[in-house]
């Protein structure tokens, strides 16, 4: 069936089979491979994207369920060349080791800070408790999110971004 979803701010219309999961729609149909596909069983949280601003596991959402809704992937976090504060925080505090869980962690962090701009450590740990970092780099991830809370978006970025492929292929054409 045909669905129209706003992905990273751009309306995208695609024909999808009802059984296609959002994670595969993003990766395979829209070529937004920043959304990582991990355990496939709703456990690891690697595939987290924002659905209408709330973090969800995209391996447990049907793409057809996003018709008429807004999806934000890690590709949509940066504002042009300016990285989101959570991305800057993960750089500043080295909130990653292998990086596989990072896109989901960034999006969960963004949603947390949108809702609670000054979270304490416990709130940060609870927010990311559905996501597994098998490098067990949680301490630096927590510090990265605290860094982002201390450096909100209106402050100038220290680090320029690479040109991110922020939008699905259709929008670029």
């Amino acid at each position: 069936m045909q669905i129209t979803t706003t992905v990273n701010g751009t309306e995208v219309t695609r024909e999808v089979e009802p059984r296609v999961l959002l994670v595969h729609h993003l990766r395979d149909d829209l070529r937004l491979t920043g959304t990582h596909w991990g355990c496939d069983t709703s456990n690891c949280g690697t595939c987290v994207v924002l659905l209408d601003g709330e973090p969800v596991k995209s391996c447990t959402v049907l793409a057809v369920m996003t018709d008429g809704h807004e999806v934000t992937t890690v590709e949509g976090l940066a504002d042009g060349a300016t990285l989101d504060p959570v991305q800057q925080g993960f750089m500043a505090e080295h909130g990653l080791q292998c990086g596989f869980c990072t896109p989901g962690m960034l999006l969960t962090a963004r949603a947390l800070l949108d809702r609670e701009p000054h979270p304490d450590e416990q709130q940060i740990r609870e927010a990311i408790s559905g996501q597994i970092c098998r490098c067990t780099g949680y301490a630096t991830i927590v510090r990265s999110i605290q860094w982002a809370a201390d450096h909100p978006a209106d402050q100038p970025a220290d680090q320029p971004a690479d040109q991110p492929a922020a939008q699905p292929a259709e929008a670029q054409a």
Binding site: E17, P18, H24, S42, T60, M65, G130
Partner: protein
């Protein structure tokens, strides 16, 4: 890669529309809300519906409303909404206790109270919560609406009183003065199913004795509530001695099975200890009004 088998998908526009669709598509149709129980089962082909009826657009089923003597909660209310609701936390702190340990925040953003109850997993937390709060489940079907006490709603693992042609639309919690409640769960890691859990609701008389109590256990092989354990408290002051006896009776009423989460002795110990803890906390909350 886990992909569900092919199915038809239709987005419902109203409760009436859901009932029409259920009738039209017959026994192989399933209602999907949050989908966090159903979709993993479909990926493993443990469930293989021909048709999914998506009720996520039915805002009419997403509400938390206090009316005299009752809190009405729409079936499509997400776990995250219940956890965020100050009203829910004030009237029924047990709901917040339980919601904090149901899966993880990401799952709670999608999963719904109606879906949890209908899934009827024996280790599901809200069943115990609704049991001890003596909630009613409102079921809407072709013949109209009926209220089913939670004690009669579950017919066994993964089976409920909601027929194929019907939809759970609301859960109603009686609001009782001088009452409070608590829930505690032991899990192996965040988001896991319970090794064991206990819930309790307590009503105090004006003289401070226990006027009413209800105790429920999760994942401990007890169907319904621990009647004798609760009855042992009624009419007595909620002393440590009374709480200890209730814990012992609840553990005796449990019938846990050994599995990868632990042996029988350990689980029975948890039934005892967790019952005592939730009783103490419920009593403390009821007496301080917090």
């Amino acid at each position: 890669m886990q992909i569900p088998a092919a199915f038809d998908y239709v987005r419902a526009e109203s409760v009436g529309n859901v009932l029409d669709l259920l009738e039209r598509h017959g026994p192989e149709a399933r209602v999907v809300a949050g989908g966090h129980s159903l979709l993993p089962m479909m990926k493993l082909r443990l469930a293989r519906p021909d048709c999914l009826i998506d009720i996520n657009g039915l805002a009419e089923l997403d509400f938390v409303v206090e009316e005299p003597g009752v809190l009405r909660v729409g079936a499509l209310t997400r776990h995250a909404t219940l956890l965020d609701s100050a009203l829910v936390g004030r009237l029924f702190p047990i709901v917040h206790d339980a919601e904090r340990v149901i899966a993880d925040p990401l799952v709670r953003n999608r999963g719904t109270i109606g879906g949890s109850l209908c899934q009827a997993d024996p280790a599901e937390d809200l069943t115990t919560v609704c049991d001890v709060l003596r909630a009613d489940v409102l079921i809407t079907g072709p013949a109209g609406q009926r209220a089913v006490p939670l004690a009669e709603f579950h017919r066994g693992p993964y089976e409920s009183a909601c027929e194929q042609s019907e939809l759970v639309t609301e859960i109603r919690f009686p609001v009782v003065p001088r009452s409070s409640s608590a829930y505690e769960k032991v899990e192996r890691r965040v988001g896991d199913w319970a090794v064991a859990a206990a819930g309790a609701a307590v009503t105090l008389a004006e003289d401070g004795t226990v006027a009413d109590a209800c105790i429920g256990l999760t994942a401990l092989g007890l169907e319904g509530v621990a009647t004798e354990a609760a009855a042992s408290l009624v009419g007595r002051p909620p002393s440590e001695q009374a709480v200890t006896e209730a814990g012992r009776l609840a553990a005796e009423a449990s019938d846990p099975t050994e599995d990868q989460r632990g042996p029988v002795d350990y689980k029975r110990h948890l039934a005892d200890e967790l019952t005592r803890r939730v009783l103490r906390r419920a009593v403390q909350r009821a007496s301080t009004g917090s």
